[in-house]
Symmetry: C2
């Protein structure tokens, strides 16, 4: 059986179905007047009277007949529906009962389980009733969609049950009892993910009323379409709507229900898991550093100010200071996954005011390349494991947002800044030796590196000192450069890091040069006066890693509830 | 060899050693005047002249002798120190070289490796030089302390090397080459954790200068003493100092270096790891919800206000709303580990303005006890695994803060609110049926439950509705009560949770009763109008769990850099 859902606008169809029944029905005919007269007030002739009487008799017969039909219809409606127990809205769940029911996830349904009876909890993504006896449903949970059929039967499914089901708004949450049924041939549909089986519904109950389909801002099915599908539909009779980013984000709970988003946030969890899994085997410990700071530290301009009792506080722009202090406190190797706050008024597809930082810091024995090597190994591990463990998630996202598979070589590429500049200049860039790269130059470098090394991931080492923060360790031989690096994915920066200055005298000089009085960061500074081992680390933007791995075009797509200068809700 | 460190004040000793050499030395004698006169201006008699000449001659001989001694001393000092390459301060590490040196952790040193030569990086916790030829050191890293000996040898260790070492301030970071040496009998010391071996030092270099011992606010060794040790020392000649909490927190980097704190924060990491490890196997996904909120939601009074560009924002008091919205968005089972902010002006040992929340939320099939059971299993898992995986950490903390082992039964105890009230009243409490418990009453209940069930962990279910937040689901049969619960450790609450109201009509009523306009939480409210499954969850205070598991008396001891109404630094 083919897809029942592809080629018409389900929202409009559902809206028509749910228009109040009888809204257009006429009232009963008016009663006959006591005495009849012509329009000019003269009495009727006998002929006229006879004609009128005949007309009235006809009307009476007609009304009698209508009343009889209505009575029959009413009687039929009042008769006991043999299927009444098999459908309807469940009472509010206040944990009245516990029977031990276990729901089968839609993703576990397959032809191999043909004939098995299962309990399912799922959303109604779409319902189309082709007759009074039959309805086809698209059911969804997590990132699976399954086709289901509700067909009239003599003893279990009544026409009323079909009608009730067909009247449900999309997004209604359903509890179903159904049988798995192998399909004769694979279901051809870009929406249905279970291709070799469908569900035959025996019982169907809603968990509660949801807003009517017409009042929902968009349908989840529409929100899951690829740009190619939408574009191709524009020349047809039923062009598909394109749902804009702001509409999605304004209605984020609805938007998050798409199979694509379910997959994106499982992959995000995957990145965090792999990050921790790797570092836990390397003897790191996780820390939780305070986000409330007594002083605006790293950069006063882009820091959020907080009213703190009778004084004020500032939101940490990164755990930079705290993780370095943890190193000075002998923790050796630390990481943190937590929110970082940036009060930059940047309304670009790459910036948010709050995002998730994956931060790590590590004391090393001799050379900061020990840390660089470990982080290269970390990313290689993440990139190798993601497609192994999250293949279905990646493919689900690609269905909506097609993108070339992320390229990673067995040995990660580490480029020196000078090599990078050379490549750029050979490609026609005018960038200066010690000049910071803008976004466009970074993209160009990413393209050049991809062409040369066949990789979407590389490291750029030895940045010019002057374009890095004060806590960056200068290069030992050429003080124009520094022991610092960025990591790139698809030509965009996802990690920034360096060997840090661990010597208090050099730190004081660097702070002075940066115009930061030591007194403004006394606790941080004092940590180094008590002796700190040489150390290096980096900060990674979680959302950027996910965005670039999946080749998405806006960072907001990888944030659960994104925050930017114009958005604080929902 | 016994402990070399126990019975004198190492700080004072080190301070005396590091007083600037020659600070008290006199300058050279003044030159003789050209013509001598008596004090009244008359010339000297011959007798007087002779006497003066004799005196001058004596002075000359004395000075010649002194000059000779000084010259000899200088010659000796200038002579080549055969050990010069074996000690001293290393140049600033700017990653000049990489040889592949691997340091041996102190915890890996044992009698079994007798005779092995190792590289070690460690802090100097204490140094006592008993003669010009010999110095005993206590070295520390992570939560291990090892005894080390530096003794003069004909070809490797010079007296100058011993002297230089003895002059180092405590907390100096050292790179050492040393041989492991089995001790004749176990080292008797509460400080030294490696009992069966010590290090014989061949080379010793400092990684940089640290502030003189006398300028350090306390010694790490003193900060690691138990109250019992300090108390017992008060009647001796060398009473040990007790380091107050504020002094510790003002110098938190130094304080965190104690073996006790190293262990506390590894255990904290352990709690988070076990929390995730369990939930990951139960199909949860980790989310990162925004801390910046557009409205002051759960409770306007105790929320921090943030300047947000031209408007304002508020810091989330918990991920409560976001995690419920994630459930409405079909994520099914979610958890989050992140900061939560409470603007409560409470200066108690149990409150902080920022702490780490372990939050989870879960859609259930029929009954919220599915969630309660899962969380009970979660805690049972954590409590069972902690002593298995973190025995050394627990024992390290107990050395300084002795406390009875945390009691957990095989089957966790779940008490009904009414049972709890009955037990309290039988024990003499006057608490009303529907009255909230204060801290003292909770402690009493914890004591009663411990006596009856032999457990330090229990769950209290079915709280009165009126003392719970608006989003709490009422009990289905008695609307005085609710489907909500707290978990307790050693008589203190560590988790609060409930089945939530997932029905928009009931939610609107509950919000109205609580005086919260729906418009103030529109995004949250709308999530339920789009249909949400029945769900329940809980929020756990990470620092409280660690504090109570270890039996510590102040929550600040389990926060890396604690924040309270009076503390925003370091």
């Amino acid at each position: 059986m083919g897809e029942q859902t592809g080629d018409h606008n389900p929202i409009q169809a559902a809206a028509q179905q749910t228009a109040p029944p009888g809204a257009a029905a006429a009232g009963p005919a008016a009663a006959a007047p006591v005495e009849e007269l012509n329009e000019d007030g003269t009495p009727l002739t006998e002929k006229q009277k006879k004609k009128r009487a005949e007309k009235a008799e006809k009307q009476r017969i007609k009304e009698e007949k209508a009343a009889k039909i209505a009575a029959e219809k009413a009687a039929k409606e009042n008769e006991v529906d043999f299927a009444a127990q098999n459908y309807g809205q469940l009472p509010l769940n206040q944990s009245q009962e516990r029977h031990g029911i276990e729901f089968t996830p839609l993703g576990a349904i397959s032809a191999e389980r043909d004939g098995e009876r299962v309990f399912v909890q799922a959303r109604l993504q779409l319902c189309r009733s082709t007759s009074a006896k039959l309805a086809f449903l698209v059911l969804r949970n997590r990132f699976d969609c399954v086709q289901a059929v509700l067909a009239e039967t003599p003893d279990q499914v009544s026409r009323k049950m079909v009608k009730w089901t067909a009247s449900l708004p999309v997004e209604t949450l359903l509890n179903l009892e159904a049988s798995i049924s192998k399909t004769a041939k694979p279901i051809e549909s870009s929406v249905i993910s279970v291709k070799d089986a469908e569900l035959k519904i025996h019982k169907i109950h809603s968990l509660g009323a949801v807003v009517p389909t017409a009042d929902q801002k968009f349908s989840v099915q529409d929100a899951t379409r690829s740009e190619a599908e939408i574009e191709a539909s524009q020349s047809t009779e039923q062009p598909m709507p394109s749902i804009g980013l702001d509409t999605r984000l304004d209605n984020r709970v609805l938007d998050l229900r798409t199979t694509t988003n379910q997959a994106i946030f499982r992959l995000t969890h995957g990145v965090c898991r792999l990050f921790r899994e790797f570092l836990d085997t390397k003897d790191f410990i996780e820390i939780h550093s305070p986000k409330l700071q007594g002083a605006a530290t790293e950069s006063g301009a882009s820091v959020f100010k907080v009213s703190y009792f009778k004084g004020q506080a500032f939101l940490a722009q990164s755990p930079q200071l705290a993780k370095q202090m943890a190193i000075a406190a002998d923790f050796g190797r630390v990481y943190e996954i937590g929110p970082v706050f940036r009060a930059e008024d940047s309304n670009t597809p790459r910036h948010m005011t709050e995002f998730t930082g994956l931060d790590l810091e590590m004391a090393f024995s001799e050379h900061y390349h020990e840390v660089l090597d470990l982080m290269a190994e970390l990313f290689t591990f993440i990139f190798r494991e993601l497609p192994k463990r999250y293949r279905k998630e990646i493919d689900t996202v690609k269905r909506q947002y097609p993108t070339p598979e992320f390229l990673v070589p067995a040995q990660p590429v580490r480029l020196n800044w000078k090599e990078g500049i050379k490549m750029l200049r050979e490609a026609g860039s005018q960038i200066g030796e010690l000049e910071d790269m803008d976004t466009e130059t970074e993209r160009l470098l990413g393209k050049l590196v991809r062409e040369k090394y066949n990789t979407d991931f590389f490291m750029l080492d030895k940045f010019p000192l002057d374009i890095r923060p004060f806590y960056t360790m200068p290069d030992p031989t050429d003080s124009n450069y520094s022991n610092s690096y960025d990591f790139f994915m698809r030509g965009q920066e996802i990690l920034s890091g360096a060997q840090r200055v661990h010597d208090p005298d050099l730190l004081a000089k660097r702070m002075e040069k940066a115009g930061i009085p030591v007194s403004a960061m006394q606790g941080y500074f004092d940590a180094f006066r008590l002796g700190a081992p040489p150390h290096a680390g980096g900060g990674i933007g979680l959302e950027r890693v996910v965005m670039l791995y999946l080749g998405l075009r806006n960072i907001r797509l990888t944030s659960l509830f994104p925050r930017d200068p114009k958005r604080l809700e929902p």
